[in-house]
């Protein structure tokens, strides 16, 4: 058990965060020097790598510090690793895109570091106030990043829309935290979990209201239906590497916070499972059905990301350690193949300056056989075909749901997977079966882009065949606080 009384100021607990913050500060101050300014991606990469190494070092050594406000257990570390890896991949394939669009500015790399730091803060605490703080540190850079392409109307729209919806969601979350504090007298989830019986008997109404409002706040962040309305526009309007960033890190951070709150703090709350049940069904179904009619790949991937959030919410409805480790596994898997498909779209946009319409993919297999082969693998993974990690992830999720007795939820989930096959395979069909139009532009792979594609491909296929290690890690994450 973690020592909850430790009041020490122990900076080794937040060393990964400090590394990222230092990198961001160096980048911000380096605007004075032209040479330093061009080094921004290198500095950010160095910061992220240092942070990753420190985070790995923290594994298996749970600590609490800062008056019990910061907790660093295996759950935290696993999520930290997920955040840093996704940011690193974005950094690797983002640069070329920004240069080609003439929006490459050092600020982006600083914002990326700060946002990643916010996600880490969100995952590394059991205190509601610190979770909120992390959420804001994460979100504010995201708003700026969405509107980064300032000459593009769509990007501006994405930035403003995300800002307004994000502020709205924060309002709900803060109101929820206020209600919870009012009924329990504390914002520490450990103390709420200990006093749960007492709070439930005396202040049930306020506490439940607080829990539901908190859930609504996070439902905005993880894009659960009916709080998803901002997702398609923001995903389509933001620069593609930024969209890729949105769809992995912040989502995983939102789920990490939800996991802590609803499976650790409010574990004994009964009605919340029903709410998650409804959210999961709505999110899966609406996301998949709306994705069917999208002609723009980024928009389609936005709806698909809503649908995937629905699959993960299934685990929340089920509860228990098996389902939760399946959710962590799924977050990792989804991050891999989603980043892979976004990397390919980015590469295509750099190549032809296209607007990522589906029709622009026609004849891709003739022009770029390797790229379209990789795209096929990622689409199969998104649809959940073996031998990709997408299949394994869904398999663990639905097995856990059946073991928990949620037969109907599983049936709805599997039906939704069938629906999703149509629109994922349509991408493959367009790129392989339709005639190539337009002029042939040779693809220039940068080494970084090549590396991203190879890493995501190797992860998608390799973890699909040998998933034990990742499963072990996600189990370790959940057992850290169960």
């Amino acid at each position: 058990m973690i020592d909850t009384t430790a009041a020490s100021i122990d900076f080794s607990i937040i060393a990964p965060e400090i590394a990222l913050l230092a990198a961001a500060f160096i980048i911000l101050v380096s605007v004075y020097n032209k040479k330093m300014r061009n080094l921004a991606p290198v500095i950010a990469t160095a910061g992220l790598l240092v942070s990753l190494l420190i985070a790995i070092e923290q594994m298996g050594n749970p600590k609490t510090g800062f008056f019990g406000m910061v907790t660093c257990d295996d759950f935290t570390v696993v999520f930290k690793i997920l955040f840093v890896i996704s940011s690193l991949l974005i950094l690797m394939f983002g640069r070329r895109y920004f240069v080609s669009k003439n929006i490459d500015r050092p600020e982006f790399y600083a914002l990326l570091c700060i946002s990643t730091m916010g996600m880490m803060v969100m995952a590394s605490t059991t205190d509601l106030v610190v979770i909120f703080l992390g959420l804001e540190i994460m979100s504010v850079p995201l708003y700026v990043m969405a509107g980064m392409d300032k000459r593009s109307l769509e990007s501006n729209e994405a930035g403003i829309k995300y800002l307004i919806m994000g502020a709205f969601a924060s309002g709900f979350l803060l109101m929820g935290i206020a209600f919870i504090f009012g009924s329990s007298g504390t914002t520490d989830l450990r103390r709420i979990a200990a006093d749960f019986q007492f709070i439930g008997e005396n202040y049930q109404l306020y506490f439940n209201a607080g829990a539901v409002l908190t859930l609504v706040g996070f439902a905005f962040k993880v894009a659960a239906v009916p709080f998803h309305s901002w997702v398609p526009d923001v995903y389509q309007g933001a620069p593609t590497p930024v969209t890729a960033f949105f769809s992995v890190g912040p989502k995983a951070a939102g789920f990490a916070a939800l996991l802590r709150i609803f499976n650790f703090g409010f574990e004994d709350m009964e009605f919340i499972s029903d709410i998650f049940w409804m959210l999961a069904v709505l999110t899966m179904t609406v996301g998949n059905i709306l994705a069917l009619r999208q002609g723009n790949i980024k928009r389609m991937l936005a709806y698909s990301s809503i649908a995937h959030a629905g699959y993960i919410l299934v685990a929340f409805a089920v509860g228990g350690s098996a389902a939760m480790s399946a959710a962590v596994f799924y977050l990792f898997a989804y991050g891999l193949f989603n980043l892979g498909s976004f990397a390919i779209i980015t590469q295509l946009e750099i190549r032809s300056g296209c607007k990522s319409e589906l029709s622009e993919l026609s004849g891709l297999s003739k022009a770029h056989p390797y790229l379209s082969a990789a795209l096929t693998v990622f689409m199969l993974a998104l649809a959940g075909f073996p031998p990709t990690v997408g299949f394994i992830g869904k398999f663990y999720l639905f097995t856990a749901a059946i073991d928990g007795g949620f037969i109907w939820l599983t049936i709805i989930g599997v039906l939704n997977s069938f629906i999703s096959v149509y629109y994922y395979l349509r991408v493959v069909k367009v790129s392989f079966l339709e005639k190539f139009e337009g002029t042939f532009v040779p693809v220039k792979y940068t080494p970084a882009m090549m590396a991203v594609l190879l890493i995501t491909l190797a992860g998608t296929l390799g973890l699909g065949i040998f998933p034990e290690k990742l499963l072990e890690i996600s189990r370790a994450a959940i057992f850290a606080f169960l």
Partner: protein, 118 residues
């Protein structure tokens, strides 16, 4: 309960009646003109000229928003100042870190030329 809150209820009633009487008096007795001076934004003073929707330099906005940012962050110094003696060295170092973070932001906006007027 009712007796305690009766004065407040009375206050509401008086406010509603007074407002109603004043508005209805001006509706029934007052003259109404919709043209001429009545249509202008200010009834006295210099007549406004041109449109108000003119572009103005973004510099004003930059300075204003930066002022508000630093203004709000300086507020955090006050609670620290009140208990700085009890916090001692620990509080002092924490505040130094905070000010250092502010300084990074300050140097950033200086480097970006956000405060240059010309």
């Amino acid at each position: 309960m009712f007796e305690q809150l009766f004065p407040i209820l009375l206050l509401f009633v008086v406010a509603a009646v007074l407002a109603g009487v004043l508005i209805s008096l001006s509706i029934f007795i007052g003259r109404r003109t919709k043209l001429g001076k009545k249509g202008q934004p200010y009834e006295c003073g210099i007549d406004p000229e041109g449109t108000t929707r003119e572009p103005f330099p973004v510099k004003f906005y930059m300075v204003a928003i930066l002022f508000i940012l630093f203004d709000i962050e300086v507020i955090f110094l006050y609670p620290w100042a009140v208990i700085s003696k009890e916090l001692g060295m620990f509080g002092f170092i924490e505040m130094l870190v905070f000010v250092l973070i502010l300084l990074v932001g300050y140097f950033y906006i200086l480097g970006r030329g956000a405060l240059k007027w010309d």
